[in-house]
């Protein structure tokens, strides 16, 4: 029998695998989350890491930055952070008699927005507008952000004190929402006995540059999506719209985003076609934060219930 055809150009895939392996060596025992993070960046989406403090959100973001050879900025969000602190300000220059724009940290390719839900809604929305439109406007002048532009944001669960939860509409800006969760026993044991994470981070070598990322993105767009798969994807979307516990189901944009992420995931799995397994792997991280549940319903539980309910055509 004929084996599935291999991906034609293996160079980038090998570099991708090497990058994933490198991040896995820093963040122990979380291969799925690491693969999701890479998938998100390949699909040109923004990533939201959500969990309690101390499980490695920032470590993961730093490891990603170190693995990708991209301009990198980090912003620690606090409650007194102002929009101008991230976008930048126009300063009057005495010599030329004009205002000159001093770009803020947002003008980068990979932005780590740490603890995004500690900032005031005003600041959050400044960042989220930039994420949606790929540009920032200061004093009536629109400045384009460098492309590609990735945001890796971390946030604490909303029930912790001193946070401003992101509104539902703005959660939609993130392609994937990933929870890290506590490491399992073996991983935690290795973590405790190993070297300081900061030292390891400092030793990481970049394996993927912008061009490689572009190439991977192009390859992901070329993966085959069969009619049977589209039927299944559409059935999932439709199921979210008639589920009794969901107030607002997934939008077509959410469906497109889920498909793009699934393509990248298939690529990261070494395939040039998308399987139902890919969609199932991405459905909870890509869909659960976009569902608006009814009273008392839990988003991830509903998303899992829908997965268990919709037949694979």
């Amino acid at each position: 029998m004929s084996a599935p055809e291999p991906i034609r150009d293996n160079t980038f895939k090998r570099r991708l695998d090497a990058g994933i392996e490198q991040v896995n060596s820093v963040l122990l025992g979380k291969p799925r989350q690491v693969k999701l993070a890479f998938t998100c960046l390949i699909a040109r989406g923004h990533l939201l890491l959500e969990d309690v403090p101390g499980v490695g959100k920032t470590t993961l973001a730093h490891a990603l930055a170190a693995t990708f050879d991209l301009d990198f900025q980090r912003i620690q969000f606090t409650s007194d952070l102002l929009p101008s602190d991230i976008i930048g300000v126009s300063v009057y220059e005495r010599d030329g008699g004009t205002f000159r724009f001093h770009p803020g940290p947002i003008f980068t390719r990979l932005l780590l927005a740490d603890e995004i839900n500690r900032a005031s809604p005003k600041t959050q929305s400044a960042l989220l507008e930039a994420m949606a439109e790929g540009q920032a406007t200061v004093d009536g002048v629109t400045h384009a952000l460098p492309q590609p532009f990735f945001v890796v944001a971390t946030q604490n669960p909303l029930d912790l004190a001193g946070t401003f939860p992101l509104p539902d509409s703005q959660l939609d800006r993130f392609m994937l929402r990933v929870s890290l969760d506590y490491p399992d026993a073996a991983a935690e044991r290795a973590l405790l006995s190993g070297a300081d994470r900061r030292d390891i981070l400092a030793q990481l070598q970049p394996t993927l540059d912008g061009a490689a990322l572009d190439m991977l993105h192009t390859q992901s767009l070329a993966t085959t999506v069969s009619p049977a798969l589209l039927d299944y994807l559409q059935a999932l979307l439709a199921a979210t719209r008639r589920h009794p516990d969901i107030r607002v189901g997934l939008s077509p944009r959410a469906g497109l985003s889920l498909l793009a992420a699934s393509r990248a995931w298939a690529l990261a799995s070494g395939r040039d076609y998308v399987l139902p397994e890919d969609i199932q792997a991405l459905f909870v991280p890509a869909a659960s934060h976009r569902l608006i549940p009814g009273k008392g319903a839990h988003r991830e539980a509903i998303a899992r219930a829908i997965l268990a309910e919709v037949a694979v055509g």
């Binding site: 004929s2 599935p4 085959t224 049977a228 199921a239 008639r242 395939r271 397994e277 037949a311």
Partner: protein
């Protein structure tokens, strides 16, 4: 097993959605509505209110209903029913209690299991409605009330939480329609019992009817009751309005106020000499809970299962608790009991002493005037009613001790009972044997349906007078007062100005509706054990035994099942070769112990199978790869790959797992 228990247990305890609860409430409302005709009005209103309260509670105070609320509600219901009906047993209080409990059940409808129990009970309560009324309207209402019940059950299924009522109603209606052939089959061929299976007796007074005694004012209730008493279809031309007298009871005994059957006249059936036309007809009698069968004056012989009394009253051997049909022939012109023996003559002249002296005096005076001319005396009495300022009314003034005197000389108003009673009294006082006969008179001839509809309001009383050489002759004194009451082809006993006036179009509509009711009563309700046995007569089976019916029933069910299966196979979604092969393989592997779910990705399923049967790992993995490849790795269908997969899947033999 533990896993299975946990799984089912969890499903049964799963909470229900708001949509399902709404459907359950609608189902309960339908049950109350179907029962509303026989529930006391206070209970109907209270149950409606309880249903609304239950709905409000679930919306605004979700959670378990506390016991301090449930217990008083249940006890209150119990107490209310016992106080109203006097007890808790029997058909009426029993079904009222069932409906009440059902509505209260909505207060604790939280889980899937609750809904299943409540809906099953609701279906039982719907069936109970047919115990008290099997008319067309109730039957159709019960069938329709099953629709929300089916919708509730369907909404419990995963993935069936439909958004709109219409989307949910269509499959339920479809299910109902699919059940119709089976229902018809069961209706025709499930062997009938001659007696109803359930013994919950209805009260004798459920419906007023003619009774074997009569005192002034007795019939008032009946004369204002427009419900059908019986329907008569004649072979050939129906007799004219003046001949439509249906005798039920002959009354000999008078105590000054009340006429009754007394012990009746014993002895041989009075001889009958037909003179003139004979009418042959079939009567469909509504349930009376008595034995008497009305018959057109005068029945010639008793039908099967009934007998003639000495006075040619027809009575059935058993009580008429259901619609009854019987065929009869009656002589319209007759000489009845030409010879009167001494005992009967004495019975026909019996009068209570010391009552009504003025009437007696009047009769004596007539006797002096007319000598031996008995018929002349009778004519004089009719003349008195016609010219003496008498008035026909259903609401006459009350009568004193000497009721006949009071009526003849003071009040001058009354209806058939008063006239028949006074007339018979006068005849007896004049020395002419006479008796009161009650029954029905008139009726509406429905030309469209070719039958005579006799309503309860056609109840009537008249007299029979024995004249030498002629036998018993019918005299109807009411006709002398109000000829149109007798001659009318009308529908009600009303006196024209009373509350019984109905516009012509309403009467016409009611008569059309009565045809539908008649067809239903004859075709459906009246389909009894007797008719069932003769069901196969067209096929040469004179009397079908129950075993034959059961055989036909079983074959019919098998045939329907085969048709249903064929339909399901025909309508099976058309998948491609590979999908069908995969489905078959999954079914086969499931029998060998590997469960599968529709929502599982095929690749994942095959890797699981590979772990399940490690010895066949290679084959299973390549099956999975091939399937994924042909289904998901290309945008165009790949028929040759699909066929290859189908062949491989067919040839795959999983080893038996020894447990």
């Amino acid at each position: 097993m533990n896993f299975l228990y946990a799984l089912t247990h969890k499903v049964r305890e799963a909470p229900i959605s708001a949509g399902t609860f709404n459907l359950v409430c609608i189902t309960m409302a339908c049950v109350v509505a179907v029962h509303a005709s026989h529930l006391p009005i206070w209970l109907t209103l209270l149950l409606g209110f309880a249903l609304l309260a239950s709905h409000w509670r679930r919306r605004h105070r979700p959670g378990k209903t506390p016991m301090w609320l449930k217990l008083p509600l249940t006890l209150g219901l119990l107490a209310g029913i016992v106080v109203w009906y006097g007890n808790l047993f029997g058909r009426e209080p029993g079904s009222a209690f069932a409906v009440g409990l059902l509505v209260l059940k909505t207060f604790e409808c939280e889980t899937v299991r609750d809904v299943r129990v409540a809906v099953a009970f609701a279906c039982f309560a719907l069936m109970a409605a047919l115990l008290s009324d099997q008319g067309l309207v109730v039957t159709v209402a019960v069938a329709l009330a099953i629709v929300p019940a089916l919708m509730s059950l369907r909404s419990l299924e995963p993935g069936q939480a439909q958004r709109t009522i219409t989307q949910a109603a269509l499959p339920a209606l479809g299910l109902l329609a699919a059940a119709v052939p089976l229902a018809l089959l069961a209706f025709l061929f499930v062997p009938r019992l001659s007696e109803p299976l359930w013994g919950a007796p209805a009260a004798d007074t459920a419906k007023p009817g003619l009774s074997s005694s009569m005192s002034p004012g007795d019939l008032t209730e009946l004369l204002t009751d427009d419900s059908a008493a019986m329907r008569v279809s004649f072979d050939g031309v129906a007799p004219g309005p003046d001949q439509r007298y249906f005798r039920a009871f002959v009354m000999w005994n008078f105590d000054g106020r009340r006429w009754d059957h007394g012990y009746g006249r014993r002895g041989e059936v009075a001889g009958l000499l037909p003179q003139g036309p004979v009418a042959t007809y079939e009567i469909t009698l509504e349930a009376t809970h008595r034995r008497t069968l009305p018959a057109l004056d005068v029945p010639m012989a008793a039908p099967e299962g009934a007998r003639l009394s000495a006075d040619r009253e027809l009575s059935s051997n058993d009580r008429i608790d259901d619609v009854r049909r019987y065929r009869l022939s009656s002589a319209l012109g007759y000489g009845l009991q030409a010879d009167l023996d001494e005992n009967t003559r004495r019975l026909g002249l019996q009068l209570p002493p010391n009552f009504d002296p003025r009437a007696r005096a009047l009769a004596q005076q007539w006797r002096l005037t007319f000598g031996q001319n008995d018929e002349g005396i009778a004519r004089a009495a009719l003349g008195l009613f016609h010219d003496g300022g008498f008035r026909y009314t259903l609401a006459p003034a009350p009568l004193g001790r000497d009721s006949i005197d009071d009526f003849l000389f003071n009040t001058h108003e009354g209806f058939c009972e008063h006239y028949a009673s006074a007339f018979t009294f006068l005849m007896r006082a004049a020395g002419i044997p006479a008796r009161v006969v009650t029954g029905y008179q008139g009726g509406f001839y429905n030309r469209l349906g070719q039958y005579l509809l006799v309503r309860q309001s056609n109840a009537h009383a008249w007299s029979e007078v024995w004249l030498a050489g002629r036998g018993w002759v019918r005299f109807d004194p009411t006709g002398a007062v109000r000829p149109e009451r007798i001659a009318a082809d009308g529908t009600s006993a009303g006196d024209g100005s009373g509350p019984w006036y109905q516009p012509a179009w309403l009467q016409a509509a009611r008569n059309r509706w009565d045809i539908v009711n008649r067809l239903w009563a004859q075709g459906v309700t009246g389909f009894d054990a007797l008719r069932q046995r003769s069901l196969l007569q067209p096929f040469g089976v004179r009397e079908a035994p129950p075993s034959m019916l059961v055989t036909i029933l079983a074959s019919g069910i098998c045939l329907l099942a085969a048709i249903g299966l064929g339909w399901a196979l025909y309508r099976r979604p058309e998948g491609d070769v590979a999908q069908r092969a995969l489905a078959r393989l999954k079914a086969r592997l499931e029998r060998r112990g590997l469960a599968s779910r529709a929502s599982e990705a095929p690749g994942h399923y095959f890797s699981r199978a590979a772990r399940f049967w490690p010895s066949q790992r290679k084959e299973l993995e390549s099956l999975g790869t091939l399937y994924n490849h042909l289904t998901y790795a290309r945008s165009e269908p790949a028929p040759e790959l699909a066929r290859r997969f189908a062949r491989m899947a067919r040839e795959f033999r999983p080893p038996r797992v020894v447990k």
